[in-house]
């Protein structure tokens, strides 16, 4: 079988799981609890194995892109094709998506076991995975947009999974609406491309057109900025970031998937997919870089003071996505995807760990935790490995990718480079603070005053995936981005694999990737200093009240969006104004018209009241009018 056929199978497996589960839930009384979860594990697991097969076959050799397409529909000269674009970027993405989704399905078997919506949960999860797979192999921008929206819609369903909780539904709605504002930008960008001709909606055609300068710079700049808006919405970058922390209302495994492999990475993926466009236009790439640089610091500062373990992780996701934006904006294409790849494993692990902690203490409020390290040994150890990896300590995974990102940025701009380095200190700080509050010190009672003795480790279906995730969290960075040749694995294998993408870089540039010792040492020292500051401040009681107030209130942006813009400006002013117009003018007009007609007809009714005098007057007046009319017509030249 060709790779293309294999990719179809990868896509169809979870889709079939969705369809089977969905149809069984809706139309039968069959108790599908026994099969829905295992079916997901089986289908997504098989997809993952196929991905690995293609990846291992492809990564060493000179893998060329492959594509095939068919016509979706056509109208006149407007034609939309669909198909598969399998290049190194897609290959890495589908592996991450299926791999992490697979482990999270296993975890969910136990985590969701007693939930009423068990089967519904797995149905949605299958669709979520399917949509993300569809997104990353799309060959056409419309096709990409379709799956892009489906990812958004399924995340709406999953965030609002517990639909009896008003806060969950609200968070889901917020996520959908805020990302839709981004989608608004993206679709207009796509319309702008379609205006040039529907054949350019095909991504490979679009690349060729951009590389050969078929479009004017103005159009490319506009399209680029609009695409960036879409990516900002989906990847929760400033100023469309505040849906992501609220998205915690969904089940924890959903957060794990949403933050690591699907949904938020879609924005980064989009920018990588449009990299020829982004890198061709200076304004666009600078915008992307500064959005990333600003967001990574901005989000980290909010993580410094948050007391909710999942919120800390959410802010850290936003911040890490900022690093990926930064890398893409400064031209470090390979580094951005490398960071996406390594980040996915340890971020998924951190969320699963948070879920495991929450499972034990029934809350995500870290002020009620503490001292868990003796009771939950595996959770503790796996999470600490992931945290160190996220902070970026040698030789953990996160170190290698963050180093590549910083190296790429350092070549481009000093300000952005300093922003990136500053983010390293902040990351060290908030992750250490989170680990200290959760696992060290004294136990503070959990949600409902739990006995410390009753604390226990989570069930084994939850623990195994965490252990499995811990392995790549620690070592995968070294293997895919090793500074030296490791026998069968070349040095910097993933970045050079990505850089050999003939589609994106048609004139193959063999830029030598060098490992920079000085940079590695500086960034490690910064990370360690972040850790030390966190340990130090946790023992003293420094409190910057003013700064703290701003940070806890998330820079008042939620207030600005929800209270001022939505509530005051939109609801209380605009909607009321239009409602006023509707009732007092538009609807009133028909009443006034009918009333005035009634008035006129009442007046004229007098002329026909049957009295001989009135009737004869009416008759003569009418006659006069007709005669006058006839003569004036003649006078005006009628014939």
């Amino acid at each position: 079988m060709t790779n293309n056929e294999l990719v179809w199978i990868i896509f169809l497996l979870p889709l079939s799981s969705f369809l089977i589960n969905g149809i069984l839930i809706a139309f039968t009384k069959f108790n599908i609890k026994t099969i829905s979860g295992p079916l997901n594990v089986l289908t997504i697991g098989s997809s993952f194995l196929i991905c690995l097969f293609i990846l291992i076959n492809g990564i060493g050799s000179s893998f060329d892109y492959q594509s095939g397409s068919f016509q979706w529909f056509s109208f006149g000269i407007f034609e939309i094709t669909m198909g598969i674009l399998l290049d190194p970027l897609t290959l890495i993405m589908i592996t991450v998506v299926t791999g992490i989704s697979f482990l999270i399905q296993i975890y969910s078997l136990a985590y969701m076991e007693h939930d009423e919506g068990y089967s519904r949960y797995f149905t949605y999860m299958a669709l979520f995975t399917t949509s993300m797979l569809g997104l990353v192999f799309s060959k056409n921008l419309i096709q990409l947009f379709i799956f892009w929206e489906l990812v958004g819609a399924t995340s709406y369903l999953l965030i609002g999974f517990w639909f009896n909780k008003q806060s969950a539904i609200k968070a889901a709605k917020k996520a959908f609406l805020m990302t839709r504002i981004g989608d608004f930008g993206l679709i207009i960008g796509i319309l702008l491309i379609a205006k040039q001709g529907s054949q350019y909606l095909d991504i490979t055609q679009f690349y060729i057109a951009v590389q050969n300068g078929i479009f004017t710079t103005e159009i490319l700049t506009l399209v680029g900025l609009l695409v960036v808006i879409g990516a900002v919405g989906k990847s929760a970058q400033f100023p469309l970031h505040n849906w992501l922390p609220d998205a915690m209302e969904g089940p924890t495994p959903v957060s794990a998937l949403l933050h690591s492999a699907t949904m938020v990475t879609a924005g980064v993926f989009l920018l990588a997919r449009m990299f020829p466009l982004i890198s061709a236009i200076e304004i666009v790439s600078t915008t992307v870089a500064y959005i990333g640089g600003f967001t990574l610091i901005f989000a980290s500062t909010m993580a410094l003071v948050s007391n909710d373990i999942k919120r800390v992780l959410a802010y850290s996701s936003i911040s890490q996505l900022g690093y990926m934006f930064l890398a893409l904006g400064t031209g470090a294409y390979g580094a951005a995807i490398l960071h996406l790849f390594t980040h996915a494993w340890f971020k998924a692990l951190l969320f699963l760990g948070a879920g495991s902690v929450g499972h034990a203490v029934h809350t995500f409020d870290m002020t009620k935790m503490g001292g868990l390290k003796d009771h939950m040994k595996i959770t503790y150890w796996t999470m600490i490995l992931a945290a160190i990896s996220l902070i970026g300590i040698f030789p953990f995974s996160g170190f290698w990718s963050k180093d590549e990102v910083l190296l790429g940025v350092s070549k481009d701009s000093n300000i952005l480079f300093l922003m990136g380095l500053f983010g390293v200190i902040l990351t060290g700080f908030y992750m250490t603070r989170m680990m200290l509050m959760t696992f060290f010190g004294d136990f503070k009672g959990g949600e409902s005053g739990l006995e410390e003795k009753s604390l226990h480790e989570s069930p084994k279906f939850m623990i195994y995936p965490m252990i499995l995730l811990a392995i790549p969290s620690v070592i995968i960075g070294f293997f895919v981005s090793s500074p030296i040749d490791l026998g069968i694995i070349d040095k910097h294998i993933m970045v050079s694999f990505l850089d050999h993408n003939k589609l994106v870089f048609p004139d193959l540039h063999h830029h030598e990737i060098k490992f920079n010792f000085l940079l590695a040492i500086v960034s490690s020292l910064l990370a360690i200093s972040g850790i030390l500051i966190a340990i130090f401040t946790s023992r003293s009681n420094i409190d910057l009240k003013f700064a703290r107030k701003i940070l806890v209130n998330k820079y008042y942006l939620d207030y600005l969006y929800e209270e001022i813009i939505t509530e005051n400006l939109f609801y209380k002013r605009l909607v009321k104004l239009l409602d006023f117009i509707e009732t007092n003018f538009i609807d009133k007009a028909s009443h006034i018209l009918s009333n005035s007609l009634r008035w006129v007809s009442n007046k004229f009714a007098i002329t026909q009241n049957g009295q001989l005098q009135i009737q004869s007057i009416t008759f003569f007046i009418s006659l006069l009018i007709i005669i006058a009319g006839y003569f004036s017509w003649l006078y005006l030249g009628g014939n």
Partner: protein, 517 residues
């Protein structure tokens, strides 16, 4: 397909409806009216599907023509009975078949004056099919006006709330629209001497129509007479105010027909007369005025969407969303260009597809709201909440309908809106700005749809002084028959969303032929 099939499709429900009205309950005969109506509309559904799929795409043009030369045989006044369908009307005939069946299922709980109710409902279906199939302007007008009679009675007798007021308002607005239509038709007749559409087209090609017209009434005047007539029916801002009232007070089945099929008569008229006929009479009118229509369309989208946001009645909410969605029809309509024969047609195609998709999507939404209302006896959103716990299926399908209405890809609404956007955006800068404004309507649509779903169906079950709280435990989900109608509509929405060619291939022929007759 045997000849006369289209006439059968029109007159079978009308005649059988009248027979039911007269003979169904007397001392010799007593038949089950509901089952009979279901059977009749079932036959209609199957027939309309058969007709749709046996429309020969390789030949194109008007097919299934029934011709009856001496309908009104006067020496100086020949009106002919001609029905037939082409690529533009075939999907709408199919739509009428689908929604007619669903509306009968939605009427299964009607108790009051059953035989009259089903008589009017069946007559309505036949008459609307007649509108879409007429190829003679006078015949079209007759069907157009005939539709008023069943609608008036259905709303005023079986409606709720201010039913008489709403029925009268509907009547007056639609009569105005019909009067304008008649003026337009007569003006065309006096400049061409025929009511038959393709004769007018032929004369238009030779330039006779325009020169005759310019003597009496300028073509642009007739264009606007028709446009306003159709805009009232569509409805377009600012002549939409009959719609929310009529919808809110009409019984469920009538809301389905009203939103699903009757509004489409306006859009169909725009395409058939203001685009198709005027392409041969004076193509410069719409070409020149296009940007202004685009602005009106975009404004209607936003205006309708913003008003939708603050509605508290489920039905009224969906009614206002229809105003918003019909704005897209005007937007796509504006993308016509006299030179489209060498350019592109997807804007007009999107308009035609929007008529079909909005019919199924809003039909589904009204059906589900009606089924909810039958159970809860209120449509006031603050009195609802947590219905998902008792009605998981209704909620699931409502979420699908909501997603379709907010233009989620994979469902049919997206394809239509995309085609309209693509087609209009590229026409020029004013068009592009209008399109961008209209695209923002999609964001607003997400807002009101999700807000409604959140309040009415999700959340905790209602407590306190809401009337629903007392009966919450007795609420039931869909029964088998209701599930059937919901599934039919959902399948249509999903299939067209995933495989749009099933409709667009036919529309492509219909729209293409406008420019190549």
């Amino acid at each position: 397909m045997p000849g006369g099939i289209l006439s059968f499709l029109i007159f079978f429900p009308i005649i059988s409806g009248i027979l039911i009205g007269i003979f169904s309950e007397n001392k010799f005969l007593k038949i089950n009216i509901k089952k009979t109506s279901l059977l009749i509309t079932g036959i209609q559904l199957i027939l309309s599907i058969l007709i749709y799929f046996s429309y020969d795409k390789t030949i194109g043009g008007f097919q299934f023509i029934d011709y009856f030369d001496s309908w009104i045989p006067f020496e100086a006044f020949t009106a002919r009975y001609i029905v037939g369908i082409d690529g533009l009307s075939a999907p709408l005939v199919l739509l009428t078949g689908i929604l007619g069946f669903c509306s009968v299922i939605a009427s299964m709980n009607i108790q009051l004056r059953q035989k009259e109710y089903f008589m009017w409902l069946l007559v309505l279906q036949g008459v609307v099919t007649g509108v879409f199939a007429s190829l003679d302007l006078l015949l079209l007008f007759v069907f157009w006006e005939a539709e008023l009679i069943p609608m008036y009675f259905l709303i005023s007798i079986w409606g709720s709330g201010r039913a008489h007021y709403s029925a009268m308002k509907f009547l007056i607005f639609t009569l105005t629209s019909g009067a304008l239509l008649l003026i337009g038709i007569i003006s065309l007749y006096f400049s061409t001497g025929t009511f038959v559409m393709f004769d007018i087209t032929e004369l238009g090609l030779s330039g006779i129509v325009n020169s005759n017209l310019s003597l009496a009434i300028p073509a642009i005047f007739i264009f606007f007479i028709f446009f306003i007539g159709f805009a009232i029916k569509l409805p377009l801002f600012p002549v939409h105010s009959w719609l929310p009232d009529a919808h809110t007070d009409a019984p469920t089945a009538v809301s389905i027909m009203l939103a699903g099929v009757l509004l489409k008569m306006g859009g169909y008229g725009l395409l058939r007369i203001n685009v198709d006929l005027f392409h041969y009479i004076d193509p410069s009118i719409l070409t020149d005025l296009g940007p202004y229509f685009a602005i009106i369309g975009a404004f209607s989208v936003i205006y309708g969407a913003i008003l939708t946001i603050q509605q508290t009645d489920l039905k009224r909410l969906i009614a206002f969303s229809s105003v918003s969605h019909m704005g897209y029809v005007i937007l796509g309509f504006s993308s016509y260009s006299a030179f489209a024969s060498v350019g592109s047609t997807e804007g007009l195609g999107g308009t035609a597809l929007q008529l079909f998709t909005h019919g199924t999507i809003t039909g589904l939404a009204f059906l589900l709201v009606g089924l909810t209302y039958e159970r809860t006896h209120t449509r006031y959103i603050p009195h609802l909440g947590g219905l998902v716990n008792k009605m998981p299926l209704i909620t699931t399908f409502f979420v699908i309908a909501g997603f379709a209405s907010l233009g989620l890809p994979g469902l049919s609404g997206f394809v239509a809106e995309l085609m309209i956007f693509v087609g209009t955006f590229k026409m020029g800068s004013l068009y592009a700005v209008s399109t961008i404004v209209a695209v923002f309507g999609v964001v607003l649509a997400a807002g009101y749809t999700l807000w409604m779903i959140q309040r009415a169906y999700f959340g905790k079950e209602v407590k306190g002084d809401s009337p629903v709280a007392k009966i919450f435990d007795q609420l039931t989900d869909l029964n088998k028959l209701e599930l059937l109608s919901v599934v039919i509509l959902t399948i249509t929405i999903v299939v067209v969303g995933i495989y749009p060619s099933i409709i667009t291939d036919v529309l492509d022929i219909g729209v293409g032929e406008i420019f190549t007759r």
